[in-house]
């Protein structure tokens, strides 16, 4: 039997976090969620996640810093989901180590497809 892929959401806004949980669950992931960066870094290091969804504006450490800390030892995909939409923000996200940078607001169906495409690319 194939293992269900796991995803970790690092997002401080409760309603957005809940929406991401719904989207990722519907995309077939087993989902964990934390509201701050420090906890997210610890969880990402402790478990083998296939996907990490990281907000940029977190209450303790910046989401970019979270990605920088996690990336060296993380084998899964990292998606930054942020309201900061400038070109420079997206470049910073990729430079930190994100595989994909998605700007909020997002539509659930579109986001779900992007997550699936990203993980499918790994499988193929």
């Amino acid at each position: 039997m194939q293992d269900i892929p796991r995803a970790l959401i690092i997002e401080d806004d409760d309603d957005i976090r809940r929406l991401l949980e719904m989207v990722l669950t519907q995309a077939g992931f087993a989902v964990d969620a934390v509201p701050n960066g420090e906890e997210g870094v610890a969880r990402a290091a402790a478990s083998p996640y296939a996907l990490l969804s990281v907000d940029v504006g977190l209450p303790d450490i910046d989401g970019l810093e979270v990605v920088r800390r996690v990336r060296p030892s993380f084998t899964g995909r990292i998606v930054m989901v942020s309201a900061r939409s400038a070109e420079s923000d997206q470049s910073s996200g990729h430079a930190a180590g994100a595989d994909l940078y998605i700007t909020k607001p997002f539509r659930p169906r579109e986001l779900k497809q992007k997550f699936l495409d990203l993980v499918a690319a790994d499988a193929s």
Binding site: D13, I16, L19, P35, A46, R84, P105
Partner: protein, 617 residues
């Protein structure tokens, strides 16, 4: 929040005060004796018995104070971090006593409930005459873990302790009689403006706190949430705002440095005090107090400190966690601050009558005995210094001993001032910068250190006032007004017509959201309800960030409002957020501050619209 098991030791740690302190105490005693008794600056020791007695008293008080402060600094610098646990192993409740708290209660409840999904919030409305109760009822529409306990006169407004006892009875009755469950149920107290840090429950559940069975009560560190406010007195000019900002910083420094160090020391001496806001107690411990005293909280003005003493008397351990905090609003007004501090001082002094039963209980060890008696005796020692200091100084002046033109005396005075009067208080400003990681310059920390020196000497004003009130039997106090009371809001007619033309909620967007979630209408409804619950917190985040002119935080707070609104089809609110974003792009904080009430009003309208459409009562 789901937190996994952590790879940490769960063995309880017992900390002790180092015996080296006796050596330091002797050294300080010798230094103080040299300065006060044998330098000749204050008279030749042995000539006048009365003056000699005064000099000995000042020597003792000064060396005790220096010993105490050395202990505090050492404990503060050499702290051991509290370990985290899994908050899901315990049941959590917080009680929020309220009397006319309409300006802050929504954001406090919203923050507590959205930060901690498992936490029950019990608002105790002590017969408010404002909208406190209806605000809480509105939040109950979105969340079944928000509870309202309404008290009415003549049973209401009889003191905070009574209000807390009333809520205790309700929670106690709603909890299983199983002693193990009551031992695992923890009840906190929050002020109506209190925000808990996100790590609070996990640290409270850790092996140094409620993860250890003998710990009965825990106090969190206290921060000032308006510490960055650039205009804490919006109706006043530059000087008063500078004074207000400094007063707020002083309170933040006080609670996060010297007060926190006192509590860390008390962890070692076994005498951690409860401070009301951010205190947590096991239900089983409150049951014990209820059995012993007829009610957990007593009648003292400082019912929180009284509770802590009674918990210790009953043989339960108390603990302190500086790594998690509750933040509250500091007072930017000198008169209100002095009134508040006089009340606290009076309340603490009243608690001295509980010391005999604590001593008889046998639960106080030597270091605890010394700490708690020194703390309770401090007002009297301060008063002795207040009387003796000027008398001895004036005597020395009239006898020509303190000749400012003569070198040796000037040096003695400078040494005395630096070691005994300035350094012990000044250093907290520097420690604040480096240990509390506040984003302030070294110059600012020096300014705050010097200001703290004057701030600490406010004790010379409020302790005598408190003593006078005790002597005259005056115990009635008016509630301290909130900073935001009476400063809001703007009339809705000020909204632009283009804004009013936009829908508060676009039903099509919510419908399409539900469709995109594979037709899960319950999910969409849950999201909308969450928006209603979270709105007061989002508004508070924006208000606090804008007040502090913290650009990144303000951008994020505004983006959070805009994005959530856009996703739910709250178009009027989303457009208002975009409009405010223009001020932010121009870094025009006065325009942003001016328009903030607009987004508050539109946010409230949006939540009302959600309630009307989605909440079935």
């Amino acid at each position: 929040m789901n937190t996994g098991p952590r790879n940490v030791s769960t063995r309880p740690r017992r900390l002790r005060v180092s015996p080296l302190i006796f050596v330091f105490s002797a050294l300080y005693g010798a230094l103080a004796a040299l300065v006060f008794c044998f330098s000749g600056a204050f008279g030749d020791f042995g000539e006048h018995p009365l003056r000699d007695a005064g000099l000995v008293v000042v020597t003792l008080i000064s060396s005790l104070a220096l010993t105490y402060i050395s202990l505090l600094v050492h404990t503060y610098l050499a702290r051991r971090a509290n370990r985290s646990g899994n908050s899901e192993t315990l049941s959590w409740h917080v009680m929020i006593p309220c009397r006319d708290e309409e300006s802050v209660i929504a954001e406090t409840v919203s923050a507590a409930r959205t930060t901690f999904p498992g936490l029950h919030v019990w608002v105790i409305d002590d017969d408010s005459e404002d909208a406190t109760a209806s605000i809480v009822r509105n939040l109950q529409d979105f969340d079944d873990k928000v509870h309202l306990i309404s008290r009415r006169r003549p049973n209401a407004r009889t003191g905070k302790g009574h209000a807390l006892n009333a809520a205790y009875r309700v929670i106690a009755e709603a909890t299983s009689e199983d002693p193990r469950q009551r031992h695992r149920t923890v009840i906190g107290v929050l002020d109506a403006d209190g925000f808990l840090s996100g790590n609070a429950l996990d640290l409270l559940a850790g092996p140094d706190a409620f993860g250890e069975d003998t710990v009965g009560a825990v106090q969190l560190e206290v921060w000032m949430k308006n510490r960055g406010d650039r205009l804490p007195r919006p109706l006043s000019g530059g000087f008063k705002n500078l004074l207000g900002r400094t007063l707020i910083r002083m309170q933040d420094i006080e609670f996060r440095t010297s007060n926190s160090a006192m509590q860390m020391l008390r962890v070692k001496t076994g005498t951690v005090g409860m401070g009301g806001n951010g205190q947590f107690t096991r239900l089983s411990v409150l049951d014990d107090l209820d059995a012993d005293y007829g009610q957990p909280w007593g009648k003292k003005l400082s019912e929180d400190y009284e509770l802590g003493l009674n918990i210790m008397t009953r043989g339960h351990r108390t603990h302190y966690i500086p790594e998690a905090h509750v933040s509250q609003e500091a007072l930017p007004f000198t008169r209100r601050l002095l009134t508040q501090r006089t009340r606290w001082a009076q309340g603490n002094m009243e608690c001295a009558e509980l010391l005999p039963s604590l001593r008889r209980s046998g639960h106080l060890r030597g270091s605890g005995w010394a700490e708690i008696h020194y703390f309770m005796g401090q007002p009297w020692l301060l008063m002795a210094n207040l009387l003796l200091g000027p008398i001895l100084f004036v005597l020395a002046l009239t006898e020509g001993r303190v000749g400012f033109a003569s070198g040796s005396s000037v040096q003695w005075i400078a040494l005395l001032a630096a070691v005994f009067l300035i350094l012990p208080y000044f250093l907290w400003g520097i420690l604040y910068k480096y240990l509390c990681r506040e984003d302030i310059s070294l110059l600012s920390s020096i300014f705050y250190g010097l200001s703290y020196l004057f701030y600490v000497y406010l004790t010379y004003i409020y302790y005598p006032r408190a003593m006078a009130r005790i002597v005259s039997g005056r115990t009635a106090w008016a509630k301290t007004a909130r900073n935001a009371d009476g400063t809001r809001l703007l009339p809705l007619s000020a909204l632009r017509e283009e804004l009013l033309a936009l829908p508060l909620l676009d039903a099509e967007i919510i419908t399409s959201l539900a469709e995109e979630l594979d037709g899960a209408e319950d999910f969409a409804r849950e999201l909308v309800n969450t928006f209603g619950l979270i709105w007061p917190r989002r508004w508070a985040n924006l208000r606090l960030a804008a007040a502090a002119e913290d650009h990144t935080a303000t951008v994020d707070a505004l983006a959070s409002i805009r994005v959530a609104s856009e996703m739910l089809g709250a178009e009027r609110l989303a457009q208002t957020a975009r409009d405010l974003g223009v001020h932010l792009d121009a870094v025009d904080y006065s325009a942003l501050r001016r328009d903030l009430p607009m987004i508050s009003a539109v946010g409230e309208q949006t939540v009302e619209e959600i309630r009307g459409r989605f909440v079935t009562v």
